[in-house]
Subunit: 118 residues, 2 copies
DNA sequence: ATAACGTACAACCATATGGTTGCACGTTTC
DNA sequence: GAAACGTGCAACCATATGGTTGTACGTTAT
């Protein structure tokens, strides 16, 4: 099995930061939902300038959450669910730390020898 | 079953933004892992001022990822895995949009009648 | 009581972010 | 070829972020 967390700390920063904006989450939802969407079609849906939406898409692209595919003069935006899955894996990992905390406690309780190390 | 997404858009902004920083992710990992940690004990582990770490903890607290519990003159920091689970649910939801896109396609293919609605 | 510790908060600074407008350039249409 | 369209990028602005130091204040220890 290959490493499932090929993301550097900086990658994770970009990934979560990209998700920390409502407009960007909405764009991700639309393109994952199958909406055939060029940048300008997306831009028409939001109450801000084209350039603003174009920047949001750029942020999503740098975070690996979407890819752009040239098609004539437009760039079709496609969602990348694999990157979402990676973010989800990190959260699972953190939640796993919580769970393992109790299984360690269980182990200590089941093992009456006292640990000597600090 | 109660609603599983009681988080407003602004809540989600705070939640993902809180996760978009390596120091904060590390703090979450430590406290979820069971490290008994006051703010100053946490601060000692990082190469920055106490005030900086205190601010990071405040950001995590506002995002609902940790809670502080006064104990004498210290504030013990505890992780809140439920909030992580909520973030994870959002990602699952987004990935679900992707999957449902294909099940819709499957439905269309399995149903030879042409849809009339746009 | 006084000193030391742990925390919170304000003020400040540099940089990042999210928005704007304007312009350049490739592509399509006429 | 000229006009219109879609995109990207630069410059600019206001505000947010992540860091600093200093100060105030409650709690613990001497």
């Amino acid at each position: 099995m290959v490493a499932r967390f090929p993301l550097s700390d900086a990658d994770l920063d970009r990934l979560f930061r990209a998700l920390a904006d409502g407009t960007r989450r909405d764009i991700v939802a639309r393109v994952l939902g199958g909406e055939q969407a060029s940048v300008s079609v997306l831009a028409a849906r939001y109450d801000m300038s084209f350039a603003a939406v174009q920047k949001h898409v750029a942020v999503l692209e740098e975070a690996g959450l979407v890819t752009k595919h040239p098609q004539g003069r437009e760039r079709m935006v496609r969602g990348n669910p694999a990157q979402l899955a990676r973010a989800r894996e990190l959260l699972l990992h953190l939640e796993g730390l919580w769970k393992s905390r109790f299984s360690q406690l269980d182990a200590v309780l089941a093992e009456p020898r006292l640990p000597q190390d600090d």
